[in-house]
Amino acid sequence: MSRSGAQPARAAGLVAGALALLLAALIFGAAVGETRIPFDTVARTIANRLWAAGYAVDPIDAGIVWSYRLSRAVVASACGAALAVSGAVLQSLLRNPLADPYLLGISAGASSGAVAVAILGLGGGLLSLPLGALAGALLAFGLVSGLAVLAGRGPAAIILAGIAGSQLFNALTSFVVTKSATADEARSIMFWLLGNLSGVRWPDAGLAVPVALAGLAACVLHARALDAFAFGTASAAALGIPVRRVRAVLIGATALMTAVMVSIVGSIGFVGLVIPHAARLVVGVRHGALLPASALIGAVFMIAADVLSRVLIPGQVLPIGVMTALVGAPAFALILIHRPVVGGISAR
């Protein structure tokens, strides 16, 4: 039912506007920090790097912009987009406005994987912490979806299985941390769990960006199928949607996107829950528009949250998960209060 495709010129304009907004956010993210770097320096550095424009730029500024801030902003945007799209897809597919990407046990599994590598030394030094997290996330998702299949089909089964899986893996993480970790290890794990973009560099972007784009593409291709879930799975099936296949593809895509993002930056809460609701207020419920809008708002929101986390307390970087929740929770409350008519969020 996405009719926006009917006006190609308008759609092209919207896409151009969205890309411009994203680019502006990236430049902003690269310019703002402990040392403020002028926007034109940022733009020149990017031009030098992308097409060897040959502008004269202070090499220290150029290094900060290119190697630290821009890679970080790019990863933040990919993460924000992937989490927001995953949240939007899961909320529609499971018909639950509270669904978020961590519902599938992914974040809990990632933390178990991370502590298994970092504290227990699993993998004998061959596994890095992100790889351990990715393995843990995928393992947890495998267990949760297996349990959901055994428990019967339907949205409730996967939500309940996700709760069981999350509790199990969170308990495992706590167990390992309390039993084996030193105070320093526990603190660094805690920091990682709250989301951390500090160590992020271009190779991370090289993983995050293609995964986010591929995931977004897979979800957008199923936009009309997602629309058809509005009245439930039986109704979707009656409208010709192969429900089981679509559900498997979309849940798999969101799980993979989320697992990769969590393994790079830790589990950043609230983006996947809040951004889709904000996007619905702006563009409505058709997924052809909702998914790209969620991706854009998620990307820009995450860049902004990262900038805030760096500048709010001078000399100290806050975990970005703290920022997203501090900004996201009040924003969510405002959305709840100002919703014009009872709708998706209310428990009917």
């Binding site: 039912m1 192969p242 419920v285 009872v342 709708g343 209310s346």
Partner: protein
């Protein structure tokens, strides 16, 4: 197009909900499905619409078993209106009807003028065009039900399956809706609660009792005082109108409940 079922069985919890039902919905007829609560009507309808895979038996559309068709191919021929499907999304009335075009559109095909015209026609048919831009949650149960019908019409089905479509509707819209479905032509299978609706509108009536098909025929053949007493546990007298269709007048139920079957 013909929709046929051969010895359909569906079990749940070791109990047969539908047992060995064979039935043919003939091309162009209006077949009413009646039966008391829990007699298996909804389960039978779900199997006939291809939503539930029967534990035994087959459903065929024309000469092709449903199990050999894709969901989309089925949805282009056959539309289903469920009981009380609800949404949590902030859809408008028109958007809910536009969903009916889903099986006819590719993943990237744009919304066409033809789609638009069909949706407008469907909204007009159920008298909902003036409310097309209203949000779903601001509509009454009856208005929502009419939109479900409109969505099924927008699917341009050759076979329309309705599960108790007149629930929630006032008398005007109950009769209006059944008249519309009848007037539209095509093949119709409707589970109906009101036996007089079945008598007024159906070409044939199928009666379910405890998961089995116990009678099938024209309203005058099937809706007799004896059958109504044995299946529905209600005493009734049957009058025949000038159109030769039966009209059922119910007696006070306490007479039967007192252990005095007729």
């Amino acid at each position: 197009m013909r929709l046929s079922a051969a010895s359909l069985t569906w079990r749940a919890g070791g109990r047969a909900i539908v047992e060995d039902v064979s039935l043919e919905v003939r091309s162009g007829e209006f077949l009413a499905l009646v039966g008391p609560n829990g007699s298996g009507k909804t389960t039978l309808i779900a199997m006939l619409a291809g939503l539930k895979r029967p534990h035994g038996g087959t459903v065929s559309l024309g000469d092709t078993p449903l199990s050999e068709m894709t969901r989309r191919a089925i949805a282009r021929v056959l539309a289903l209106v469920e009981q009380q499907a609800e949404t949590g999304e902030r859809l408008t009335a028109r958007q809910a009807v536009e969903l009916g075009r889903t099986p006819h559109r590719g993943a990237l095909a744009p919304w066409s003028g033809r789609d638009e015209a069909i949706v407008r026609e469907a909204l007009d048919a159920v008298d909902m065009a003036p409310l097309a831009e209203r949000i779903w949650h601001s509509l009454s149960g009856g208005e929502r039900q009419r939109l479900h019908i409109a969505r099924a019409l927008a699917q341009e089905p050759r076979i329309l399956i309705l599960d108790e479509p007149t629930n929630h509707l006032d008398v005007e819209h109950q009769l209006g809706l059944l008249a519309l479905v009848r007037r539209r032509g095509g093949t119709v299978l409707a589970a109906l609660h009101d036996l007089n609706h079945a008598a007024m509108f159906a070409d044939r009536v199928a009666v379910m009792q405890a998961g089995r098909l116990v009678a099938l025929g024209t309203p005058a053949e099937v809706l007799t005082a004896t059958l109504i007493a044995s299946v529905f546990k209600v005493r009734a007298s049957i009058e025949t109108g000038s159109d030769r269709r039966p009209f059922i007048r119910y007696a006070l139920p306490s007479l039967v409940a007192a252990g005095n079957p007729l």
